[in-house]
Amino acid sequence: MNSRIRLVAFNTFREAVRDRVLYNLIAFAVLMSVAAILVGQISIDVERLVVVNLGLTAVSLFGVVIAIFIGIGLVSKEIERRTLYTVLSRPVRRWEFVVGKFLGLTGTLVVNTFFMAIGVFLALLYVAHKFERADYSVLAALYFIVLEFVIVCALALFFSSFSTPIMSAVFTFALFAVGSLAEDLRAFAKAATGFTSLIATALTHVVPNFAAFNVINQAAHGDAIPARLILYNTLYAVLYSAMAISGAVLIFQRRNLK
């Protein structure tokens, strides 16, 4: 890989690690432990269900919030605070900078998720006392959650390329909310007519479809996750991120830094 991209990515990762990430891991660990202990009071069958549902939902929500805030902090704030002047006056190309930031950011989230996942599995072990075959679907659910984060990072970066830190955070979160209801948007687009249908259909191609990535309930019930779905979701995450990042590159190329 291009060494400059790697440098920017590693530097981004270093900043995130030193800055914020650790605190949320502690909070998460506390939450998981408390939940696991409380859940131990309920009957046996439901324990696993609750731990998986609660744990994965927490990983997903925490992660999205972190992705948004770190993403915004690492890019939008950097652009605002002029730390970029001395970086961009070096042989780094603007697109390399954007891609490097993206990789560093997603790297941070993958590591973050890894540690949170350990928390979930430990809580699961605590309530169920052993691992079962069905726990593979928890791994698949976690993988999908990571894919969701990749998309959110790409979005955060996209908005950072032209917007202020606060507005970037708002837009990214709004798109996450709409994306979670993307299935309904698609249903609406099919049912609507004329101009509304046109707008709705256009939106469904632009808004990320997060519903496809949410298999938390299935993992909680121990259902197997189809391999084709894993492939498609991976493809979709890659394609969507590519879309958002190339948008960010296009905008950032032209941007006049104040």
Binding site: W95, L181, A191, A212, Y232, L239, Y240, A242, S246
Partner: protein
Amino acid sequence: MTDTGRVTWIAAAVLLGAMAGGALVQNASDAVRLSGQDQHELYVSSPNVLRRLCLGYTGLMADIYWTRAVQYFGYQHHRQSGDFRLLAPLLQVTTQLDPHMLPPYQFGANFLAQQPPNGAGLPGEALSLLQYGIQNNPDQWRLYYNLGFVYFTEFKDYAKAANAFALGAKLPVTNEFMPVLAARMAQHAGEFDTSRMLWYTAYESSKDPRVRQNAVDHLLALRVDEDVTRLEELVLKFRQRTGHNPANMGDLERAGFIRGAPVDPNGKPYRMTTDGRIEVQDPKAIPYITKGLSHPVADSPLRPSL
């Protein structure tokens, strides 16, 4: 081309390509997801929990669930699966979130009550849904109409149907057919005219295109049933007069019983079988007909004529 220019072209190409690719993958992914996973379509099945979860935006949530209910029904209907087990819960959640939304009640009256493959075959659920609706919207004549309709078509309970129509007829704002329907329930329940009036009122009572189309389909089926019944009566008359069955439609025509070849609503002529029954040429094209269908053993060449 400058460095910037080249990057711009590549980034633009990636953006468009990724967008197109993403759309394709989404469609492919649908096939995998929806086939196996529709039992989890409901996400949250308790309306109370849902009401709290959506932080008071119950209206929006109701709209979302209503859209889902319609899409679910359409999808299952298209697949001819006959499996509509989520329809009742979806409609229940919708109406619990927003009891004053009328279309879900009407949708349920039609499509929950009807037998598969065109409905869920759960008239009891349809009744509870409608009763809940009437409780919350006591001045909506359409709901009373729907209630009477379900009693009539699915339960054949003409007394209860008459009661429902009568209550609806008493409302300040109502439809002119309601008192007539109430009256007809008592004596002419089994007649074609009553059914026709019922379905016509169904058509008028709703703006939902699906419900209206359903009513039209039923009206056309009624016409076929009427035609077949009338034609078979004429065949009987012919046999009484001549002592044998007519060989074909032409015999009936020559005997002066009919004028021209009778056709079904799709324009296809009715067929006469060797044992004097009337059949519809293409029954699959006309849903809901109860007459003019061939018997399971009708295609055996050794079957003697009546």
